[in-house]
């Protein structure tokens, strides 16, 4: 069955199921076999739900047997980043703090994907509490890049990107606070969408930075991405920041035509810190888009360089508050101590990893008495300026483009020693979260055998135009059809 199913897109798998070339159970088994074969080396999964997945698959097969019309995602095996709550299934946030946490409820996205008939294969690795750009901050394990096992998969949704890139899931959901979907998608050569803030409910997403967090799909193709968005997007009364809009059918935008589309490339995204090879790759993509009829011109987002400090002040401030609840009283890890204060301090000292503690420290400092105005409030004002930059650019352009990340994937340990250097590598992604607008990363070439991503940014709630442009680019390029040669990699790794 593997040859028949593995490596196929969601829409191809849907055809196989509809035409009864394969059953949902066979498909699920094939994915579980695949996980068992490659995950010991890739380490994308923290929890594999074999029994539950096969039960869900059997339900779908029953519906098929009853002649029901299959929904676009029905019977499709997928994975969730381990910061989305799944009732009865451990949700760890890749932290010792939540190592044994079993949520009593489902995230809205979990419910919606269940309603859509998808099959949950398991929960995938991430940076602890989504804080990081390499998935190296997971308490449990290091996830490897399937294109080269010595390289990081990106982060924080590293497991979600690897699961899709290595065909360990047909699609996955990640979360993106400052690039955590787009950067690992770029590093692993898959399609990753960070929707408009508020387009997908955050209910049940374990918060990192509430005003920036957003859930989105990681998929093999642009069409798959739109299909998953159809299932997860839309107003949710449980999330006060959910946008009350009628969700469009995102697949309607999948047309192979961008003639006349006005695309801006902000010069600040091509400057210092951008790997010249990456820049060259993106230049080639620009040429492709021009050849396809788009009108591409340079533009400026003048406050871009301020985005990193503004982002790290806002995100860590919110995080310091969001993560205060992990105190050993109601759930999660508890260190024993004689009194409550000692229990709080020791629980948090042992339960959180170094990066999480660093960000809690930074955020607490930024909010503390005497520094609020200079740091937090200032950052919120700079956020306004960054938003205005985009507003102005979108007066002239339909979409903007840039590299999804300044470099291809880097080696393990390369940036761990210098947190600031790690933070600076988020320059191409964080301004988008500050502005709340949507952006997608799509495969756009290779540098030294590692994928690079093209990032397209759109107006708020205009995911449609991003899908149109991304789809057209994808249909006229071959990058998305290339696969990591895992057999060789796994072999090399296994012989070590």
């Amino acid at each position: 069955m593997e040859s028949l199913s593995i490596g196929k897109s969601v829409s191809e798998l849907h055809e196989l199921l509809v035409n009864k070339n394969i059953s949902a159970t066979e498909l699920t088994k094939a994915y579980i076999d695949r996980i068992q074969a490659v995950d010991p080396d890739l380490q994308a999964y923290l929890t594999v739900l074999e029994d539950q997945a096969l039960t869900q698959a059997a339900e779908v097969d029953q519906r098929i047997a009853q002649g029901e019309v299959l929904g676009a995602l029905e019977g499709i095996p997928m994975a969730l980043k381990d910061n989305m709550c799944t009732e009865g299934v451990r949700t760890s946030c890749a932290s010792k703090m939540l190592e044994n946490f079993i949520p009593p409820y489902n995230a809205t996205v979990t419910d919606r994907l269940r309603t859509a008939g998808t099959i949950l294969l398991g929960k995938v690795n991430m940076d602890e509490f989504a804080m990081g750009s390499s998935t190296e901050n997971s308490y449990f394990t290091k996830t490897r890049n399937p294109w080269n096992l010595e390289y990081v998969p990106g982060g924080s949704s590293g497991g979600a990107a690897v699961a899709v890139a290595a065909d360990e899931a047909a699609f996955s959901l990640g979360s993106d606070t400052g690039g955590s979907i787009r950067q690992p998608a770029a590093f692993c050569g898959v399609v990753g969408m960070k929707p408009t803030y508020g387009a997908v409910s955050r209910y049940g997403l374990i918060a990192y930075a509430s005003s920036l967090d957003q859930i989105g799909p990681l998929t093999k193709t642009v069409r798959d991405n739109a299909l998953v968005m159809n299932a997860i997007a839309g107003y949710d009364p449980l999330d006060s920041t959910s946008v009350p809009q009628d969700k469009p059918d995102y697949t309607k935008f999948l047309v192979n035509d961008i003639k006349g589309l006005k695309i801006g490339f902000p010069r600040e995204y091509f400057g210092e810190g951008i790997d010249p090879d990456v820049a060259r790759g993106i230049q080639a993509s620009i040429q492709t888009l021009i050849n396809l009829g788009a009108e591409v011109a340079e533009c400026s987002l003048p406050h871009t360089e301020y985005a990193i400090p503004a982002y790290y002040l806002i995100a860590t401030a919110e995080a310091s508050s969001n993560l205060a609840r992990y105190d050993g009283v109601r759930y999660g890890f508890r260190a024993e101590a004689d009194d409550v204060l000692g229990m709080f301090r020791q629980t948090r000292a042992e339960g959180f990893g170094p990066e999480v503690k660093r960000r809690i420290m930074l955020g607490t400092y930024a909010l503390s008495s005497g520094y609020y105005d200079a740091y937090y409030l200032k950052a919120q004002k700079v956020r306004t300026l960054i938003k205005q930059d985009f507003d102005r650019a979108f007066e002239k352009f339909d979409i903007l483009l840039s590299p999804a990340a300044p470099t291809p994937a880097f080696k393990f340990g390369e940036k761990v020693a210098d947190p600031l250097a790690m933070y600076l590598s988020d320059i191409t992604t964080v301004p988008i979260n500050l502005a709340g607008i949507p952006a997608i990363s799509i495969p756009a070439g290779f540098v030294n055998g590692l994928p690079i991503g093209l990032q397209l940014m759109g107006k708020a709630l205009d995911e449609g135009t991003l899908y149109r442009a991304a789809y057209t680019f994808e249909q006229n390029t071959q990058y998305h059809t290339l696969k990591p040669n895992l057999a060789r990699e796994v072999l090399t790794c296994g012989s070590r």
Partner: protein
Amino acid sequence: MVVADKYEMVCGLEVHVELQTKTKIFCGCTTEFGGEQNTHVCPVCLGMPGALPVLNREVVNYAIKAGLALDCEIAEFSKFDRKNYFYPDLSKNYQTSQFDLPICIKGGLEIEVEGDKKWIGITRAHMEEDAGKLVHSGETITTSNESSVDYNRAGVPLLEIVSEPDMRSIPEVLAYLEKLVQILEYTEVSDCRLEQGSVRFDVNVSLRPIGATTLGTRTETKNLNSFSSVRRCMEYEVARQARVLEAGEKVVQETRTWDEGQGITLSLRSKEEAHDYRYFPEPDLVPLVIDREWVEKIRKTLPELPAARRARLQTLGLSAYDAGVITQAKDMADFFDAALSCGGDAKTLANWVMGDFTRLLNTNQCSVADSPISAKQLAELLTLIDKGTLSGKIAKSVLEQMYSTSKDPSRIVKEKGLAQISDEGALLGIIDGVIAANPQSVEDYRAGKDRAIGFLVGQIMKATKGQANPGLVNQLLKEKLSS
């Protein structure tokens, strides 16, 4: 208030009032009091990872209503903020509250102490969530080796009403609190059940030398839950601060707790860091924009407030004192108005309501709301007196029977044959009999001994079991004797 001949007391209050909604402020859990521990909880109020708050519309409506009753401006734009501090009863280790842009600002109310009227300013009133409840294994928090947490209360909506430091004596403070609670009860934004903790008081007290214009260092004593605790706590704290100052020391700005058993205040979180709450806008909730239309809609639901009601009752002929007593509690005032609407004299009604009716309720420890006698029934009773069907004396016993049976007074009168005999024909027969049976008294009366008529009236009343109309008996008897 002058302390030790040198100091003036300055006091401001923060009052936390539980709003009378069905559900908590940010989730659909019930606010019902009691309930087994940790059964009125959900992912939101337990602060579970990933759970998000959604604001209860009714909380906003009540906050607006209370604000209007307290003469506040309702802010067109307000928002929620997080107040960050760690405590085991706080499920997220931050309290969702309102910081710099509260829903109600710049209000106040008038108090009266020994005839002197004074305006007490209300700085602000804001919405926030309550915390859970700690149950200690030992006697007190400090002597317990462990504590248990019940989050049933966590997320119950509160309105925190902050006064200006306008009060200068304990009687002023008590007058302010009574007035405040009265208004909140009137507007029905809270049931104000103090014994269930639905109103709690934080008392800010400082002393300063008489004549000084700047404020002294204050302490804040938190979580008092009765007027008497407030009074005792303030007496203690004022004396304590005076002693500190007299000893040439400085009062430490700190949060204190009231130990009811020992009758003293104790230092709570004195560390400087305890005051660094790191407020910032709540990213999980969006701002509130309250337009004039919304405010006016709520204003229409406001009842007549105590001051206006008192004034109206005075125009009906009630004394200031009587009007004050009747309007003290809203249910009593509502009862009065309901009875009055059935007709009759306001002053007479007031006497009955404040007198026999209240006495009856008190004896039976019954609230006006639970009274077996309806306002309409009381009004009917007074009509029966007015028409001469009942004497005042018999009416009192009818009222008691109304209480025990809930029957209409006319039915009781009928069943027991209690109607006053005002029929001249019937009375004349009885009078004739009494005159015939008591020739000596008739003789005495005619000889000028006026007292003798009293004996004859008494005999007639006795013969009618007290049901004869005394005025009519007097009149008829005199006519007979002089003919």
